[in-house]
């Protein structure tokens, strides 16, 4: 388990990293390395150049925005996100999910940007980014751009980032008014990739009907996914048992899990429905308070 030979470049700033990636055919940025190093050692990834983003300390921050949201630098360690009072206050669903991201030792090193750019279907952070309508700020040779989370994930371990683009910042908008959010997952052991995970955000109007709904899923398709059918079924309805049951019953329309050693697709869909119910109950309760 030794990686294939590669060149290594220690980036001095974001532009330097972009230029280094741009200069080669097959470069790869490395952040915390908690997924990439394993892939390298298994020779499942064999880039010719690794561009190390760890020197980019200016991408390590969590800051409030005036609209009530927050921005998180891509090189912020997951452990810092987990322990951030600001994240707890302004993005409680992310705060709730962070302890479920692998293990503390991994979160000490792993970054939020690395997890999002790696786009593993089992990543809680990808699911959360969809649930909260996060936006990804990226920089490439062609300049800066901002990508909605809904447009960011493209397939198994794939995003819409071009090979010379680097994720620099995650924008978390303020939670909608009168909304509640929750995240739940089932994993074989604590810290394992989830067999299924669900993030949900629901906003409720003065009349008690749903005005905003996001349901996003971990390990239930090639990459993190939303369930437009379930979201749609919630809108305009009161969050009662019948509405929740209806939403849970339609999530399968949008999900495409596969079988593996730990769970069949059928069981994963069962879990998706069970966790959808659970998350909606919790989120509804939180929206009401």
């Amino acid at each position: 388990m030794k990686p294939a030979p590669f060149d290594y470049h220690r980036a001095t700033d974001v532009d330097d990293a972009v230029a280094a990636l741009h200069a080669v055919e097959d470069g790869k940025a490395i952040a915390g390395g908690q997924s990439l190093i394993a892939l390298l050692n298994l020779r499942l990834a064999r880039p010719e150049l690794l561009v190390d983003l760890n020197p980019l300390r200016d991408l390590d921050y969590i800051e409030p925005t005036p609209d009530g949201g927050l921005v998180i630098g891509a090189m912020t360690r997951q452990r810092a996100v987990e322990r951030s009072a600001l994240v707890r206050e302004r993005c409680p669903i992310m705060f709730e999910a962070m302890p479920l991201v692998a293990h503390a030792a991994i979160r000490n090193r792993g970054t939020i940007g690395g997890s999002l750019a790696h786009a593993d279907t089992g990543s809680e952070l990808c699911t959360i980014s969809l649930a909260v309508d996060a936006r990804m700020r990226v920089r490439g040779q062609a300049g800066d751009r901002e990508i909605k989370a809904a447009d960011f994930f493209d397939g198994p371990l794939t995003t819409v980032l071009t090979p010379d683009e680097i994720l620099t910042e995650i924008v978390v908008p303020p939670a909608p008014a009168r909304s509640g959010a929750a995240f739940a997952e089932v994993s074989r052991r604590r810290g394992d990739f989830a067999l299924a995970g669900v993030g949900g955000v629901v906003g409720v109007g003065e009349d008690g009907t749903v005005t905003h709904a996001r349901l996003s899923y971990t390990s239930l398709g090639p990459t993190a996914l939303r369930s437009p059918h379930a979201e749609e079924s919630l809108l305009g309805n009161r969050l009662d048992e019948a509405t929740i049951e209806k939403a849970a019953s339609v999530v399968g329309e949008d999900l495409s899990p596969s079988d593996d050693l730990h769970a069949t697709a059928t069981f994963r869909l069962h879990l998706a429905r069970a966790l959808t119910r659970r998350v909606l109950h919790t989120a509804a309760g939180r929206a009401a308070t």
Binding site: M1, K2, P3, A4, P5, L42, R43, V186, R188, R189, R190, G191, D192, F193, L195, D260, L261, H262, A263, T264, F267, H270, L271, A274, L275, R277, R278
Partner: protein
Amino acid sequence: MTGTRSRYRYVGRPMPVIEDRRFVRGRGRYINDLAMPAMLHLAVVPAPVAHARLLGVDAAEALASPGVVAVLTGADLVEMMEPVPQELALPEVIWYPLAVDKIRYAGEWVAAVVATSRAAAEDAVELVVIDFDELEPLVDPRRAMRPDAALLHEAQGTNVVWNERHTWGDVDGEFASADHVYEYSYRWNRHSGVPLETFGAIAQVDQTGILEIWASHQNPDIQQEAVRVMRTPKVKVHMDIDIGGSYGSKRGRKQMYLTAAAAIRARRPVKFMEDRIENMQAGDGHGPDRYYTVKVAASAEGMVRALDIDVIEDLGAYCGRGPRQITKPTSAVVGPYRIPAVRYGGYGVLTCKTNQVPFRGAGQSPHNFAIERTMDLLARDLGIDRVELRLRNYIQPEQFPYEIPGGAIYDSGNYPGAAELAIKQARFEDLLAEQAEARAAGRLYGIGTAGGIEPGGAAAEHGEGVRIEVDATGHVVATIGFQSAGQAHESMVTQLVCEELGVEIEDVIVQRGHGLGGIYAGAPTGSRMTQMLGTSIYQCAKKVRAKLTAIAAFTLEVEPDEIEIDGTTYRVAADPAKAMTWKQLAKTAYGPRLKNPPGMEPGIVELNVYAGPDIVTKRKLTTGAKQFPTYAFDFHVVVAEVDPDTCEITLRKYLVVHDCGTVLNPLVVDGFVYGGIGHGIGGAMYENFAYDENGQLLAVSFMDYLMPTAAEVPTVELHEQCTPTPLHPYGAKGAAEGAYMTAPAAIASAIEDAVAPLGVRITEVPITPQLIFDSMMAARSNA
């Protein structure tokens, strides 16, 4: 010889574990900490498919890769060495470390690259081209044992390499006259003892032409085996490193011989340190992989009259030492029960998987699982309480020594005592009340029980040696013949030397030897060393005391039987002022011969080999049966809850009563019990070396081979019962495997009790959320 000695000073005390000081500080010296000058590194080329005719290996490009010194293939090994010895005499099942004419499982090693670094070797591994013709993969032993199945070893003519059936007692008569007969089937999937450290070996030929081998290997008998396999008497297997976990799985003989051949070929020291994939796919380290069919004959009162146990064991591609795991349970074939008649037999089948290794209990854990599941299911089918059914059937304390069908004799035990203590300590009535409350609230809440036998003292008939030296300054060196894998053997040796000779812990050095060191030693297998090495130390210390007594008597001008030993002081019983201290005695032994008894050998160097207890060495058993010296017992109470929506399983309570006779050191034995339960939780709920239908191993890393962590193992409440064995000087029985032998059965019992209201029965491990889900769905569609 001597006067009486006082009560134990060390035995039974929680003496801090000597090895812990280096292990917890990262100061252990493992195989991967060793390096020889100019050492090369080895990496292997794994087979991409499960079954194929091997047509050729092209290493030309690999040999040209930077840093590569040599590439070995199976054809090279046939020239250089004998096949690796195996458990059964099967001349047509020929096993070399590298595939020779056929590929027999996915991941089997086809070639070995030797290079200046492991990374360079791995770069070249990718360049080795394997030419092969694919054949039908044999993944399911039930298919592989059919006459029309493809053959793994054609010349053998069958894939079934073990097929015995032994009938002890009037099995047919009992079944014919029984009030009730039930048949149950169980599936025990592959898992193992998976150590943190993979297998590693270093080999070199020294200046005198001796082939030296260091390896994370637990069996000293490889010294003799290596002589035969490598075709040279000049072999020295070192036995003085730390092994990073074993419980049986560290017996990489194939790995050692491959490394030795590479060192001979390259004329330089070579290290082979398996990576995790090499270890899991092809390290010959998997455990039992069984299908059980158990028929039980019972009276209306629930007395079990006979068992008919049929095992299909999936051995993997070669025999290795795997078949030992099918036969060991004959030493405790009826578990703790008074069952007068037993039929035991089945099939050992070769398939396209890596070999089995006898690990932690050598097949007793699945056997206990089958027996205890059967007792639970029988209780359910008869409508008798599970604990009550067991109590009715237990061998009673006054019946020991107790001969079971087949002829093995259990030395001692108190099974009802342990069960009743566990029921009391667990406040079983309260648990039942909690369960009723939980069930009323729609929760799936179960209570499980199981009791299991731990045969202790494997291979006792092979003896165990120790050498005790007292130097001229009075320091004691105890030399043992094997390297231990974390079961605190150095601590035990130190403790017993202190106990028997009266010296202090800091006066004792425990030295691990090597294959030319003159210590006759067996492997730390089958909870053996307390029984065997412990007794050997006891006997050896007696020789030391006899010599010191003789010196004291000579110096003090009395007869030896007038000497009384008080700690390290040897004095005249009738005249206590006349005495010699330990230091005086030691100095005298190495001093002028005139100060020593005439004819006495200078120095204090005593060697002892304990031959094993008479029960093992002087009795002939029925064909097919085995005898272990001691039989420990434990009884587990587990509370499990299953989430009805997500099928997640949580262990809410774990209590165990453990009885291994005298506990030499509770710090060590408690660790065995806790570790065994953790291991049992792994086997019962998480660990599975699963293969797909093409014979590809699905769990090749710790991402997919799930071992329980601190988060999955509940707090264990441990209570001791002590029923000493008459077969050991301190009354101690083997203890390192028992908790693992019982835990899977207890956990299955609890989970089944949780989901029983849904009509689900648990007959398979690991019990995963997926299994619960599938079982619930099946029960629902049946209802």
